[in-house]
Amino acid sequence: MADTGTVLSIRGAERRYRADHAALAGADLDLRAGRITALLGPSGSGKSTLLRAIAGLERLEAGSICLGDTCWNDTTTHIAPEARRVGMVFQDYALFPHMTALANVAFGLTGPDKHARALAQLEAAELGHRAKAYPHELSGGEQQRVALARALAPQPSVVLLDEPFSGLDRRLRGELRERTVDTLRAAGTTALIVTHDAEEAMAVADELALMDRGRIIQTGPPDEVWMSPVSATAAKLLGDVEIIDAQVKAGQAGTPFGPVDANGFEDGQPVSVLIRPRAFTLSLDPDGPYTITRRRSAGPHLTHRFAGKTGEWTAQTPAPSPIQEGDRVGVELDPVYVRVVAA
């Protein structure tokens, strides 16, 4: 594997479409060589704008984007996209409709052997036999693979993928995701994948970056980010979470389910206690303080909604479970899935 030094660094990127709405509001991000970074954020958080800014398709109003020692964007320069050597896979794939798959892949190549190289790239994507097909003759999955082959063919320094699996059905998506990650790894490419699907982001990423309202709010390996979100917003981006407001007393934050470690916050400080649904362990107890109000099956696990005097929460419990709607239960917290952050 390539070294893990930073290849691309983005500092303070700003871009606004309207005076009152900043698509990028000072985003910082580092891409590490040979690693796949997933950029996760809700719709409208500025992910695609950041991607387009890296490609040079969008101008920054402030901030910089530098590849090693070369700055593509800063206060004085804006290098044109065609001079950046960035590979990009568009959400709609943007295959040239009047060119064959082979001609599409060869488009970014030069030299007398460009068609041979393009064919080799297509063969690596197991699409050699479709080289002569036009985009509209290819299936959605094949189109995506041609688009990826086209982006990788010129051996770009960075590959950017904008929601590359969004147009595909669920089963195909999983398969194609694995294939895409394998292809990117085999090419040793530095890649940035934009997605709004948390599961997808964690499945593909070596590094995860969370984006909200034009800023990167947290980065790190997916497990680490999932286990230790820095804020309620970050936690919500990665999945369902119960948020309980509390005040720190004697190094602990109080919850209806007992006190939890305050994670170093000082006494008297207001904090949010983030609890993943799987942190709750439910046990049947006729005298328990909580009542099950709803029970839903969700494949390998169940969700139980339970209510007490001070509120109502959702627990994720392994299937099968004897606990039914209307049952009284006791609740315990597994501290591994609990995190205290600043309110």
Partner: protein
């Protein structure tokens, strides 16, 4: 919004050209309005208002109603048959049905009047039972027969893209097939049909050759009489203004219809409707329904003219006239296609000036050729009057009449009238080049030049070519502006045909009349096939 990114920068500084196109298209109309509103007129207009104007207005209304009603009926029925059913010959008919656009309405009128008048073959054959095709109703029918393709094209594409869900929903809510069609499919197609009808109505009000031959005095007859008979630019301009006003009303109504189209077609997913397979008798009936307008609008009138041409000695001057027609049409088509493309590019920049320019360019399309001609004369003679004094001071002679007396004035008028017709096809063609397509080419290292020639041009070439060819055909058919603006002894095929026909020398008019649709047919086939490419 993430995806709301600005459209990718497109090559060239095209906004300037867009503004130029807009000026060319809008200037004559604005000049007409200026003259009509600022200069004093003579008694002619007052006299006219007291005598002929009511007749002009009522005849215009009759012509537009018959033309619109007929074209609406034919176009909608054919559009539905081609888009929603399947029968033997449907694929070919899909584009062949557009071809009557190559036939000028006045050519159809020459043939039909000749066939149906007292002593004509139809009159003799039916023992006088066949009515003579003439007057406002007759003229309206001629327009319906050759202009229905405007409605047909828009209706066909709308029916083809309509989701079947609305129809099915109506069925589940208790409506029978006919009721469901009547209450969902047809109203959903209404904006498209209205747009087609607006074009048909305007084209028929702009016409001169047909209505003068069939004796239907519409406003444009009054306009030409004011100009060539009374020689009054101001009166012609005032009458023009009435036509412009009608155009604004007609297109305003159409726009009001269209603005609602969005909410109707707004559903995200749609399932195209399955075709109804016609067999046996119904298939034959469908085929006949399709062939009837084709026969009435094209085959029968052209056949009659062929017969007439074969039985008459060929008139002289046809070669020169053909050359003039082709030159004028060719030059205008090239210029219009270029201006249309430039404007469409400028429009993609989404700047306010480009949008304004395009709307202004649309103004030219909305006015009759005679109005454009009057406007061009006003502008050019204005320039002449400006230049003349200083020219005299310098040379001691009168400034030569280079402006109004040349083909350049004609091309100016044609452009004013038809450049806008080239903008929207170019816009549609350019819409195929999504911002991400541009972005993909750029990230793959393509320079501006390479993007234009290897990505843009291959994708828009057919659309731009067909826009140019459409203008070519329109110029070939054009009569009133040519009559007003042509240099002395400068004949086109349309002029020769009109002159012979108005002298009742139809035999000699036959060949030039035939040459227009024959020359127009090849480009029209290209256009028709391009417009029907999804259907093939």
């Amino acid at each position: 919004m993430d995806k709301a990114g600005s459209p990718s920068r497109l090559p060239g500084q095209t906004s300037g050209l867009a503004v130029l196109a807009a000026l060319v298209c809008a200037a004559p109309v604005l000049a007409v309005a200026w003259i009509a509103l600022t200069r004093d007129s003579g008694d002619y207009l007052q006299h006219l208002a007291q005598t002929r104007l009511p007749v002009y207005l009522s005849t215009s209304a009759l012509v537009a109603l018959v033309a619109g009603g007929g074209a609406g009926l034919i176009g909608t029925a054919l559009g539905w048959l081609i888009a929603r059913t399947e029968f033997w010959g449907r694929r070919t008919l899909s584009w062949v049905l557009i071809l009557p656009l190559a036939v000028p309405a006045y050519v159809a009128a020459y043939a039909w009047l000749d066939l149906s008048q007292a002593g004509g073959p139809l009159d003799a054959f039916t023992g006088g039972a066949f009515p003579t095709i003439r007057g406002g109703g007759g003229a309206g029918m001629m327009f319906a027969l050759v202009l229905y393709p405007y409605v047909y094209l828009l209706a066909r594409d709308t029916f083809a893209s309509q989701s079947v869900d609305a129809y099915n929903a109506a069925r589940t809510l208790g409506a029978g097939p006919l009721t469901a069609f009547w209450r969902t499919s047809l109203p959903m197609a209404r904006p498209a049909v209205a747009a087609g009808l607006a074009l048909v109505a305007m084209e028929s009000l702009a016409d001169y050759g047909t209505v003068s031959h069939l004796g239907a005095p519409t406003l444009s007859i009054g306009l030409i009489r004011a100009w060539s008979g009374a020689g009054s630019l101001v009166d012609a301009a005032r009458l023009s203004l009435v036509l412009v006003f009608i155009a604004i009303v007609v297109f305003g109504l159409e726009r009001a219809q269209r603005s609602r189209a969005r909410s109707v077609n707004g559903s995200g997913r749609h399932k195209p409707a399955p075709r109804l397979y016609l067999r046996g008798g119904t298939a034959l009936a469908a085929l006949l329904v399709c062939l009837t307008p084709l026969a009435l609008g094209m085959i029968i009138p052209l056949g009659r003219l062929v017969w007439l041409a074969l039985h008459t000695e060929t008139a002289t001057g046809l070669a020169a006239a053909s050359f003039h027609s082709l030159t004028l049409a060719g030059i205008t088509a090239l210029l219009a296609a270029a201006l249309g493309l430039a404007t469409a590019y400028a429009l993609r920049s989404r700047t306010a000036i480009a949008t304004l320019a395009t709307r202004a360019a649309g103004l030219g399309y909305a006015v009759p050729g005679a109005v454009a001609a009057v406007g061009v004369i006003a502008i050019l003679s204005g320039i002449q009057a400006l230049v003349d004094p200083s020219w005299r001071a310098m040379t001691g002679e009168v400034f030569p009449i280079v402006l109004t007396g040349t083909g350049a004035a004609l091309v100016f008028a044609y452009l004013s009238r038809f450049a806008a017709a080239a903008i929207s096809p170019a816009e549609t063609a350019l819409a195929r080049i999504t911002p991400s397509l541009d972005g993909a080419a750029r990230t793959l290292g393509a320079t501006r030049r390479r993007r234009v020639w290897h990505i843009h041009w291959p994708l828009i070439a057919a659309g731009v070519t067909s826009a140019g060819l459409l203008v070519f055909v329109e110029v070939l058919k054009e009569l009133p502006a040519t009559m007003i603006l042509r240099p002395f002894n400068y004949d086109t095929l349309a002029i020769i045909a009109h002159n012979f026909a108005s002298d009742e020398r139809l035999g000699e008019a036959a060949l030039p009349s035939l040459l227009i649709p024959l020359v127009a047919l090849l480009p029209m086939i290209f256009v028709a096939r391009y417009l029907s490419r999804q259907d093939r």
